[in-house]
Symmetry: D3
């Protein structure tokens, strides 16, 4: 059946496998992913009072996201190791949430959406870690791909 053949990570017997990308063209590829740390408005206010002027909390999360994106093939078993030429993590602080966005780029035989998703997720979890002492209600929502392009 047609739709069944689409599971590139499963062979005919349903066994998981790493896709062989050796025959694919080397192309410049970019993916953007997002994650949202949802928290109490009071957590955002406290963060702004204590930490955000200095930016420190966001910088820690940014670095964690960049490092995690570079380590994606170590975390996601069927991902290929890739030499990323760029990773960027940015934040928008809202009333009761922090939006995290991660862009990853490479020139390679396969895409980088898992790198962008991993970077956004770990950046959001790092924010969670730093705020968990003041807010027991936080959760990470909306981890998804926003855009994916190749040239």
């Amino acid at each position: 059946m047609k739709s069944d053949q689409k599971f590139s990570h499963l062979d005919a017997t349903g066994t998981a496998r790493m896709v062989n990308v050796g025959a694919k063209p080397v192309q410049r590829r970019r993916a953007t992913a997002a994650a949202i740390l949802v928290c109490q408005p009071s957590t955002i206010r406290a963060l702004k009072r204590n930490a955000l002027p200095k930016g420190d909390v966001l910088t820690v999360a940014q670095i964690a996201g960049i490092q995690a994106a570079k380590r994606t093939a170590d975390l996601i078993p069927l991902c290929h190791p890739l030499a990323l030429c760029h990773v960027a993590v940015s934040f928008q602080v809202k009333r009761d949430q922090v939006l995290v966005e991660c862009v990853a780029e490479t020139t390679a035989q396969t895409g980088v959406e898992m790198e962008a998703l991993t970077g956004a997720s770990v950046a959001a979890l790092t924010l969670y870690d730093m705020c968990k002492a003041v807010d027991k209600t936080m959760r990470v929502e909306g981890v998804r791909v926003l855009a994916k392009v190749k040239e």
Copy 2:
């Protein structure tokens, strides 16, 4: 202000820091976290036809989650390295989502909620990776702590 002092990961100047847990008691600690991979019902149906009888896809995600939980201190900058005595990752396959649950345990001076959250997140991202060829609408939602106990 009282609530401001609760940011254990920020010092008086707003600088991020690793908490010194050296004076805390060594206790048995357990945390459970969840993550939800939300997808098309057709993705779940295709998964069931191709992969789930054999369980392979879930096993790959389970192993990825366990490995990520063990590596949490490498991913989340202000987390302490911990000798986990147990990590378990389990799944419930629903009509249009897969619920992921991760339990982490240690006997240590600090809790393991970040380990449980990291394990659940990476297991969900691994499912995403294996299904992304058939479903462009997936997202990870509801990454949160379900329970946290110490004895």
Copy 3:
């Protein structure tokens, strides 16, 4: 002496070194390696009864082998970091042994036999780990390269 010059990993004074592959052509390269987990026939029978219908044990070992192959340059000091385009680990369950085979591929300036050997070894050790509670006589034998090609 001619044969002495063949130790590419030793300089004239006998000092170990990483070979400089910078002047070698970038070529598609593939290597296949094997390892054999030798065990009691009763272990194989018990595995078949408990675990093999579901394939879980083999999937765990497969993922461990793939992850280890990707991490070869981290484990074998004089290996070059390589962007593998493919790794596959497969198994044949015999009467008193499990044959493990690992294929690694890259497009690079150096071969991937160490990646294939590392993947096969770690997959076999992972099987050992999961069966060690029922069989104290196991050993890994026959870790070797089966084939090595470049195009």
Copy 4:
């Protein structure tokens, strides 16, 4: 059936799992494992002429084995992270083989045989890597536990 219950790494449904060692006593534990690099006698003679007086080749393999033993929980998915208090790797150079022995020790809730096996295997593979330019017939044999004690 009794023997079936011994697969500590499989639950009742055949699903692989990490054993929960949280209730086990903390004990001093030591394990010794071996691996044999089997090669041509001419390879051993060439090694002795070029490299062994200086010991360099064996030192590289020793360090690789120690580092791999410390990283066992990162390689073998269901292993627990352990704070090893000692790892030693030693060699006996024979006519057509090198015997590798690895001892690992910890004070923990679980044993270290996988650490010893991993250290011996990676040390042998590192020797393989350094000799592969002169000998295409090598293989690693006899990877096994020699002794396991707890106090």
Copy 5:
């Protein structure tokens, strides 16, 4: 000779080895180390104008130092893996240098001076990385232990 016996990392034949700390008492231990990034006064002035108000550059270096300290046993072959209960990295920006200080703490059978030295070194190298586009004369000096205590 007496002083010769002090090389705890060398056995009687001069072979390097990991010290067996299994018989040592578990004690609370702390070490402080320093490193100095020496640069042009104009680099410090440019840093202050562009980056230091926000603190970002120092935060990136702080996180890199903390992460490296946690990974010391992975970097320094004969170091023991340790569960650090605290790591802190701080900076003093002078006219033509940045002083880096790293404190590491554990409750373990062996000291943490290598963790403190590794954290200080990698934090200084991270500053170097971020400033290398504007200053080709930088160097890291004075990497040393400032204090080492156990209780």
Copy 6:
């Protein structure tokens, strides 16, 4: 101001970032860095008596330096992952110091000075680790780039 624009690792708001090297040409690049372990003359004499004839101590430091150079992007947050085609670490033993030199090479879109600096630093710290039992006065000095070329 012109000099301000030179901080390639800072954006207009002073936020740290990974440089996007995706548009740079792929070139062969090589960098050489040094580090000096300064110690007591008696430490050098004792080393020569016990360890240096065999070279073991230097080999351990060499391997640590090579492994660290390969892992640079994991240690220095804003560095790009690179497939190094060569790393070499060498030593000159003087009366009261050991000079460490590390050469790194790649064919990539960005330079390798951080890889060379990381390799030299970790090799020097590894020597420090092995000698710290006999010499409490050691320090690492002069960590710097000696040469950087691209073709």
